[in-house]
């Protein structure tokens, strides 16, 4: 009966209750959206960290982790290989050569890690092959010698990324409905080569108005981008005798992951070709990368591998990408803090509404006390009213938020304007919001707690009423 009367009481003043319901709904939608975006980013970062950068498990020579010298290879025993191949839930594994190198073009140079890989095996463990940019050439091929795969970021640093407004670019822009007036302004930049996006953007600023730049700038930059595929890059490494050696490779493809730092530091060549450069009789293994079918098994796998050789260090993805691990581990805490702040703000509105309700129903509450409704029941009635009021808004907010997340989870939310900034810290400029069912359980619990806490003050106010005085009120 208390439940029924409380529910009915919520709808006595429909407009006032709906205002609170709406406020709670908006609060919950924003909470769901922000948490879904955060979760989307974390999941993307976690996926990219594992599938592009560190895999689930890596094995290195312990000394190599302190000092990346060519001779500090993994103690790659038969026992180690057998143990890896016998791992339950093994998706793929590979060996890599990993060396500090200097790469240069006639216009610039930079330090990188050059990875000697088997391109086909790499496809089983990483997704770099899926990250070749449009018009960015192709992935490494074992049958095509002398090739190097570099990132968009490295291409930019080595000035292999240029911007030219050619005739075909003008045609593409025309096809994409860029107004003739804008195209005519671009005429003065036609066939001029710009070697950095900054330089090109500055040139566009001088030719276009701010509004034109805001509307068409990204499109023009995108279409004018031209990678210098097949350009030569010189690599300098130290061979097994400690002597610097050089070789020239041609850029076969440009890749781009969401992690700018990783991209800038990583170039890939065929392992056999790298071996001939450092002049070893066999291909050196500095890194073994292992991908499992289930991320939950990493600790047990680490336990199985770490005892095989005292020279090796077995690291999990959590140790190699602590940023992603930390975000993943503390996500629930972030949820609770964020929703806690939203609910704290909403609590004031809820308390205010319930106080008004008590004030309006003073005589009725006096009557209920007079005819024998005890304090516990009155307290419960007011608490249930608050819970119902808040829960209605929360349920509406959770459903609306979930629908919004489902829609935006497919289309993605574009933060292209801040893309470079995100890439610098390993996040994608397009985020696909995701929400886990457990989050809704957390919201429900927090909403009920907020309602209970918010009801305490109004309920205490009601309990302090004197039945005789209350019955006299108009």
């Amino acid at each position: 009966m208390i439940w029924s009367i409380s529910w009915k009481n919520v709808w006595r003043n429909k407009i006032r209750s709906l205002v609170v319901v709406f406020a709670v709904m908006v609060g919950i939608i924003s909470g769901v959206m922000i948490v879904a975006i955060m979760e989307g980013w974390v999941k993307q970062r976690l996926h990219d960290a594992i599938y592009n950068e560190v895999s689930h498990i890596q094995v290195h020579n312990t000394e190599y982790l302190k000092n990346e010298e060519i001779h500090l290879t993994v103690n790659d025993t038969t026992e180690m290989r057998r143990a890896i191949e016998a791992l339950p839930g093994l998706k793929g594994w590979l060996k890599r050569t990993r060396m500090v190198a200097m790469v240069n073009t006639p216009w610039a140079n930079t330090g990188v890690f050059v990875y000697g890989i088997d391109p086909e095996k790499e496809k089983q463990v990483t997704e770099i092959y899926k990250k070749i940019v449009p018009e960015g050439g192709e992935y490494l091929d074992k049958t095509k010698p002398g090739n190097i795969l570099i990132s968009d970021k490295t291409a930019e640093v080595l000035k292999l990324k240029q911007y030219i407004i050619k005739e075909e670019v003008m045609n593409q822009l025309k096809f994409e409905n860029v107004p003739a007036i804008v195209l005519s302004r671009l005429d003065s930049l036609r066939d001029v080569r710009f070697r950095s996006p900054k330089e090109f953007r500055e040139a566009l600023k001088t030719e276009l108005t701010k509004k034109e730049l805001d509307s068409y700038g990204l499109k023009i930059i995108d279409k004018a981008l031209d990678y210098r595929i097949r350009n030569k890059i010189q690599i300098t490494i130290t061979d097994v005798t400690g002597t610097p050696v050089q070789s020239t490779f041609r850029v076969c493809g440009i890749y781009k992951t969401t992690n700018g730092s990783f991209d800038q530091a990583s170039v890939f060549v065929n392992s056999g070709e790298l071996a001939s450069l450092y002049d070893a009789s066999t291909i050196l293994t500095h890194e073994i990368a292992i991908l499992l079918t289930d991320i939950e098994n990493v600790d047990s796998v680490k336990g199985k591998l770490k005892g095989i050789s005292v020279d090796n260090t077995v690291s999990t993805w959590k140790e190699m990408a602590p940023d992603a691990a930390m975000m993943n581990d503390y996500m629930i805490m972030y949820y609770i803090i964020f929703i806690g702040i939203v609910m704290f703000a909403l609590a004031f509105g809820i308390i205010n509404t319930m106080m008004m309700t008590i004030l309006e129903r003073t005589r009725e509450l006096g009557m209920l006390m007079a005819i024998g409704m005890n304090r516990k029941r009155i307290f419960s009635m007011i608490m249930l009213e608050t819970i119902f009021l808040t829960l209605v808004g929360a349920v509406a907010g959770m459903i609306s938020g979930w629908i919004l997340v489902e829609v935006l989870g497919n289309t993605g939310i574009h933060f292209s304007a801040w893309g470079e900034g995100f890439a610098a810290i390993g996040f994608a400029a397009i985020v696909y919001p995701v929400i886990t069912p457990s989050f809704f359980v957390i919201i429900t619990v927090m909403v009920i707690l907020t309602a209970i806490i918010s009801s305490i003050w109004p309920a205490r106010k009601a309990l302090k009423l004197n039945p005789i005085e209350s019955l006299r009120t108009e």
Binding site: M1, R12, M367, L368, I371, G372
Partner: protein, 228 residues
Amino acid sequence: MKVIDIKDVHKIYDETEIAVKAVDGVTLSFDEAEFAAIVGPSGSGKTTLLNLIGGLDMPTSGEIIIDGTNLSKLKSSQLIDFRLNNIGFVFQAYNLIPVLTAKENVEFIMNLQKWSRQERDERTFELLKAVGLSERANSRPPKMSGGQQQRVAVARALASRPKFVLADEPTANLDSKSATTLLEIMEKLNHGEKITFIFSTHDARVVKMAHRVITLEDGKVVSDDVRE
């Protein structure tokens, strides 16, 4: 059989500088199935006396004993339970719960007392029939006239078969016809249910129908007429 025993009860309000004697040495008793009216001019102490009998207020001195229980000895929470189980209230302004139907309002106290559904249904049907509102069982108070609401209030007061019903100016807000109908119903229920009714009233129609009329002036009983 004596249901209410009031012994030399005083109630003094001294919140202001001047102490007000609202009830001044009242000694009364009420038997089972009495139909009594407390009359007197405004400020004579009628409502205060009713509040004291109903356990809504505590006397400054004296004792009120209901069916052997001294109200002054009960704690606040015990008093609430005592009211629930022993006293029915009818208020001048009806005071029904607007979100509940007539049936649900009548059932309310039985619900608090945890009666079974079947018992509740039977009693509610019986009482709504007695007050002539069987047809309006599912109507909510805002859709009913003042007279109908007060009849629902009487049914609610009687629902749990209390020892007595206190009615504070029950006809004050009613038109003549509704007031007469209500009084007839209450008298009938007084006979049928053998429940004591005590009214505070200014209404001559109530006084005319009462079997006993107690007159208060300045908080004192000035007359106590029992009619045969």
